[in-house]
């Protein structure tokens, strides 16, 4: 694919997916849906990392290794986030971010 597809196209796809994830994280009002949007953002960045690595730095594996680390961290973050969503649901009976809003002022 490296010879057939220009790097820019892959980058545009990645930035498009990042923006879709960003929009999801901003527009949804539920903790779980927002987390899904954030996961999509992280995935888009991974495409970026792997593409940059493949196209420009093929003789060392930095980009791909970083993508691996991002996946691991995303997993840890998702686990803590979902645990918190469950904990909140137990006390508030809702995961809607607008209902879970007593801190103001």
């Amino acid at each position: 694919m490296i010879s057939a597809v220009p790097l820019e196209w892959v980058l545009i796809l990645a930035s498009g997916l990042f923006c879709v994830g960003l929009f999801g994280a901003l527009s949804r009002r539920h903790a779980v849906s927002m987390l899904m949007g954030i996961e999509l953002m992280l995935n888009a960045v991974n495409i970026n990392l792997v593409a940059f690595w493949r196209y420009t730095q093929p003789d060392e594996v930095g980009g791909m290794i970083f993508a691996l680390f991002v996946i691991v961290v995303a997993a840890a973050e998702a686990a803590v986030g979902l645990a918190m969503a469950i904990a909140i649901y137990r006390t508030w009976q809702t995961v809607n971010v607008d209902s879970v809003d007593s801190l103001r002022g």
Binding site: L42, A44, V45, N48, F52, E77, W92
Partner: protein, 497 residues
């Protein structure tokens, strides 16, 4: 056939401080399981011992003045800046644990995991201060953040604590997205994640011709995204919205820990990125940081002016202080390192002390930290009132406190750098800030008590407040030893040396 694994030579001294603290935290986690009963104070004392051991290790491995050590494929560096910062962070963590030990049992939220989590977060901060590779910067930010999400939501029967934890997590994860997007673009532009190599790449590619090389442009845009990611962590306006909510909802010692520890570590990482990697771009990031600093100082202090809630007031005040620290960072390359370290220590002492006083007045099952509770404190508890007054004066930057010299060094460095407008805005916002700090003092000394408040004292709180008061005044009267310490704390600009 599997490739042969040749582990390169490793200099364990470079990571000795964080290695100690991670190992101690892991062992403490297991020791805690075997502790009988519900009382977890012993775990807290063991955590304090761990911090002391880490401090000794840090001192034992500190590099000779003017030298630095790197290891692990140049991913971490141990320089005098890192050593000083590590010691300050350990002091902050020790304060946080000291004020937590009785707080947790008083509010019936005692769980042994609390202390190892604080240690892990401190380890993450130390890592942030030492890393010279963007992979490690990212991992350090995440380690710190994931720990703090949990600690923020630690106050179980309190509604607001979980809410704060969720808000912090969603915004933090969101900011992490920007951070790694920026890192990916820098990687694409410079072809490396190593800060030294990025700096070298920029120097060569910008020197070649008058045209702006494409790779450098990618690095510039990536740097901007990284800056946005960091702005969330250090709560610069307009990325500060979460700060008051999260501070108010989280357990007070955790809020204290976050307000200085997270800021210190994130600023240190940002400072290292700016000095080591992005110094050739100073013409671009200087005005951006200047605008952010101005907005942050003005907005943070004006918002604090209108707060009847002490905890939120301290949160907004910490936003304002982030603005002053940003001015210190902007002089990166000249006096950035020393004014940053001095300011951080002065701010840490005063802020931890103020939060400790807040804890003495915090009632079980109550969620109001009203300024009214401070009214007439002088008549009933003169020593507590004097301590609080000292912290407020130091936060306001009034001589003879350490806070005055902190602000003085920051402004002097900025003045020398020619940032006269920023110095003017800084002084103006300090004047605004003085209003609400002095208002607390006025209420303590002039007013009659509004309602009966009996402070709780215990050893941890007393010692913390005592050390903070003494430190604030001593460094305010005799700043010379501290000045020479921070002047000798230099960021390593190259590998080895």
């Amino acid at each position: 056939m599997p490739p042969e694994i040749v582990i390169p030579a490793i200099d364990v001294r470079v990571i000795a401080p964080m290695l100690t603290i991670f190992a101690w935290a892991t062992v403490l986690l297991m020791v805690d399981l075997f502790m009988p009963g519900k009382d977890r104070k012993l775990t807290g004392y063991l955590a304090l011992a761990g911090l002391a051991v880490t401090a000794l290790v840090t001192l034992a491995v500190q590099p000779a003045p003017g030298t630095s050590r790197t290891s692990f494929s140049n991913m971490v560096v141990l320089d005098s800046f890192g050593t000083t910062l590590t010691l300050i962070l350990l002091l902050i963590a020790a304060f946080s644990i000291a004020i937590s030990i009785n707080y947790l049992s008083y509010h019936n939220i005692e769980m042994g995991e609390y202390y190892p989590l604080i240690l892990f977060a401190t380890g993450g901060m130390i890592l942030l201060g030492q890393s010279t590779n963007l992979i490690l910067v990212f991992l350090g930010v995440e380690l710190l953040s994931i720990t703090l999400y949990v600690l923020t939501a630690f106050f179980y029967p309190r509604y607001t604590s979980e809410e704060a934890g969720l808000k912090y997590l969603l915004l933090g994860a969101f900011a992490a997205g920007f951070l790694i997007y920026g890192i990916a673009l820098i990687y694409g532009g410079a072809g490396t994640l190593d800060l030294f190599e990025i700096g070298a790449f920029l120097n060569t590619s910008l020197a070649v011709g008058s045209a702006f090389p494409p790779g450098a442009l990618l690095v510039l845009i990536g740097g901007a995204l990284v800056l946005i990611g960091f702005c969330f962590k250090i709560s610069l306006v307009p990325f500060h919205m979460w700060t008051p909510d999260v501070y108010e909802g989280s357990p007070t010692p955790v809020a204290a820990f976050m307000s200085v520890g997270t800021k210190g570590a994130a600023f240190a990482a940002l400072l290292r990125i700016l000095i080591v990697a992005l110094l050739p771009f100073k013409i671009y990031w200087l005005p951006v940081l200047g605008v952010l600093a101005t907005l942050t100082m003005l907005f943070g202090n004006i918002a604090a002016l209108m707060q009847p809630n002490m905890k939120r007031m301290l949160a907004y005040s910490s936003v304002g202080h982030a603005g002053y620290i940003t001015i210190g960072i902007m002089t990166a390359g000249t006096h950035g390192t020393e004014s940053f370290l001095f300011y951080l220590l002065a701010y840490a002492l005063a802020n931890m002390g103020a939060f400790a006083v807040l804890i003495t007045l915090e009632r079980r099952g109550e969620m109001a930290w009203s300024v009214d509770d401070f009214a007439g404190l002088w008549k009933r508890y003169p020593l507590l009132a004097i301590a609080m007054a000292t912290f407020m004066l130091s936060l306001a930057g009034v001589p003879p406190t350490a806070g005055f010299f902190g602000k003085f060094f920051v402004f002097a460095a900025a003045w020398e750098d020619g940032q006269i407008f920023l110095v003017f805005m800084g002084v103006l916002s300090s004047a605004i800030a003085a209003f609400f700090y002095l208002r607390v003092i006025m209420r303590m000394f002039m007013d009659e008590p509004v309602r009966e408040v009996i402070p709780i004292f215990n050893r941890g709180l007393t010692i913390t407040i005592g050390i903070a008061v003494v430190g604030t005044i001593v460094f305010g009267l005799l700043p010379t030893p501290l000045v020479s310490l921070v002047q000798n704390s230099v960021i390593a600009l190259g590998v080895g040396g």
